[in-house]
Amino acid sequence: MARGMAGWEDEWLGEQRRPTNGTAMWGSPSTTYSAGPVLPAVPDPLPVGATALIPDSMDGFDTLSAPWLLCEAILLGTLDLSGSGAFTQADTAPTRMWLGSSRPVPMLLAIESTSDWVSTRTFTISVKDQDGAAQSWSMPATTSNVANGMVGFPHPPEGSFTGVREVTNITMTGGASPSGTANVLGLIPVSLIPTTTAQISTSCNLIAEGVVRRLPAGAQLRLLRAGVNAGRGLAVLHYTFDQAAGTAKGSKHPMSSIAELMHAEAKHGILPVALNARYSPSTTVGNATSGLLALMQSWYDFTVPAMGVGVEGAVVSAFRGAQGAGLGTMLCWRPSPLGSCTLSGGISTFTSGTPMPSRRFRGQPVASPVATDFPVLNVTQTFSGGANATVTITYTNGAGTSGRTAVLALPNNPVNKSMFAINPHLQGTDTSILSVENITMTGQTTGKAEVVGLVRQADEAMADSSLSACNIQVTMPNRQLILQEGDVLAPIRVGTSAAAGVHICHFDLCPVAA
């Protein structure tokens, strides 16, 4: 592990000038990233005595208001868009130690134009997902004449996988005399880097803020900019070379200090996760009688993978997200629904669900039932007929008292995937729910909804309206759930019900030693 400031630190400068405005690779809801300042690759071989490169901090400036995504980029293949089109495979996901087991790192799929494209193309993409399963889907047609240097994030079908190990093929159709070239990339996030208004830069202190990476020889770094317009960016990445020293020991308390976090990373490996948090279509906003919040759920929730030997579970150790003005993202543990209710012909039928599971929190000796601190009513079938459903939820509160009720009066005809916060409508001084014993719905004739016991793991501070498209570092919650294989993490968008395309969020899963 790095031994202090012994001269092994250095910095890289990056610069990028984008002479003309670009275009999103796909249409509304659009994907709007482009290439940012260029950084060199990690030296290969590393200097004698060095075992890895640790990014320490980054300074940045951009003439535009646009956060950057600092990431490692693996070249999965190249595309020739001319004629019938051709995909040439390159690399696959690197195999690294994470969460106690050495295995391929799941990556976020991206396509980067490397020349000006002519016309449009429709891609059918075949991959092996994060579990190695074969997946294939077709994207909508690209926008016409995508400019050089654009970065698009192909979105698989809603509810499908969240990461790729390999791209096995990309075929293409459509267009009129199409041409152009592109890289197919797998991205492993390091950090979103906020750049605020056009005059003001920022420094992002990675290590000090709990973002720990040991990059191997030859690792390719990229800065991707959230935005496609012309401008100029400057970047300075400060780093230090790691040196072999002693035996990594792992950590039962990885979040108690930077040193413990680095021990955990060195022994069992952190898993960086980037999500293409896609929020579409638009949903129904909550009002004074139905949660007082606009909430949206992403197309993709993340399922915690298996832990390796010596790892009890994982905690979320860093979270960053990019959102528009006045919005935010909550990364929530999403257990199985607590219960659901179906309206058919005006008749309400309750189906019981699963009480909140038990988990161990960091610092506690044993597992205990986790009360949901952010329960929501999730619409799973659009409501119709009649008007303004009244939803009565009978529940057991966080203290174990049963027979409590929460009543929501919904907006008329809430559409599928709408979410309504239940907290403002809990009975008396209740703040949480352990289980749901009944749900009744009246007022409308058709519809379906379920109660989901979300448990916040991390959240992004709400951006000020003058700092549009900026991302803010998370403030970690006071307690951390030790997540297990199969646990689902959902990025919930707060503050709007309008559809949106790519909103990158990323987090680290840090191993807790058994």
């Binding site: 400031m5 005059q199 003001i200 830069s201 290590i207």
Partner: protein, 277 residues
């Protein structure tokens, strides 16, 4: 001793820490355009300077000129008259350029580049950002640089032929112009600046900028600060100049103000500590 903890650094601060207050000034500049690289910038220099003929940098002790010392910038505080971004940089003078004639108008200083820094794994060449800081305003015509030649970080001599057009026929003295680079390039030396459209006047100093640290002022008049010790776990910036290949390097610690063309005045306080003293 090598710093392993914050307390190690603080212990040496109490014995060897150096405080450097600095009052800086800069005149208003001409805003950049797309054809002049988008980046509006200018240098911040000592308020005792005569803009823009005689400029002074930060009043650092003479020991700062020793490239072999391990002097670190641990803290910086700024109060300025404008919102904007400030990079504290080593401004290494490469040469001078004039814009009242066509052809190669660049004159290299006697000092030989590239500049180097000694690292545990060997010698590292300094690769930075190129900046022309106008010492005399242009007049009559907006000059055009048709091409310029530089050596990049790989030691390759590169010719950039992206037309660089000054933002105004009367581009103000003090305006900082960052020349166009090939994608992925940084500069280690400059050999030519070819003017294809001349003005009736105009001259500048050509610098290689090597950033030391950065701080931003959100609101005019407020104090902003950067903790390079705790905020940068392993990398408090090293604040000593590099070594030239031969000759004497003309370099100063200056402020490079980006993102605003307005005149600027500011008070900066630095804290430097020598590691391993």
């Amino acid at each position: 001793m090598t710093w392993l903890t914050f307390d190690d650094a603080l212990d040496e601060d109490s014995d060897h820490g150096v405080s450097v207050p600095w009052t800086i000034t800069s005149s208003s500049a001409t805003s950049a355009t797309a054809s002049s690289g988008y980046l509006t910038s200018k240098l911040g220099v000592s308020s005792l300077s005569t803009l823009w003929t005689t400029i002074y940098g930060a009043p650092v002790p003479s020991g700062f000129s020793d490239p072999d010392s391990d002097l670190r910038l641990t803290h910086m505080k700024l109060a300025g008259s404008r919102g904007g971004t400030i990079w504290v940089v080593w401004a290494h003078k490469v040469g001078t350029v004039t814009f009242n004639g066509t052809g190669n108008r660049f004159t290299h200083d006697a000092c030989t580049f590239p500049l180097t820094r000694s690292k545990p794994w060997g010698t590292r060449v300094v690769a930075g950002w190129p900046l022309v800081s106008l010492t005399t305003a242009t007049a009559t015509t907006a000059p055009v640089i048709g091409s310029w030649k530089y050596n990049n970080q790989a030691g390759v001599t590169v010719t950039n032929s992206d037309t660089f057009t000054f933002p105004n026929a009367t581009t103000a003295a003090g305006t900082g112009l960052m020349l166009h680079l090939e994608p992925g390039d940084l500069v280690t030396d400059i050999t030519e600046i070819n003017v294809t459209t001349a003005a009736s006047a105009g001259a500048g100093t050509v610098y290689l900028l090597e950033p030391i640290a950065q701080v931003s002022q959100i609101v005019s008049g407020h104090v902003t600060q950067a903790d390079m010790l705790r905020g940068s776990r392993f990398c408090p910036p090293k604040a000593v100049p590099p070594a030239p290949t031969s000759g004497t390097l003309d370099t100063m610690m200056l402020a490079w103000i980006v993102g605003t063309s307005a005149s600027w005045s500011a008070r900066i306080q630095f804290r430097f500590v020598k590691q391993g003293a």
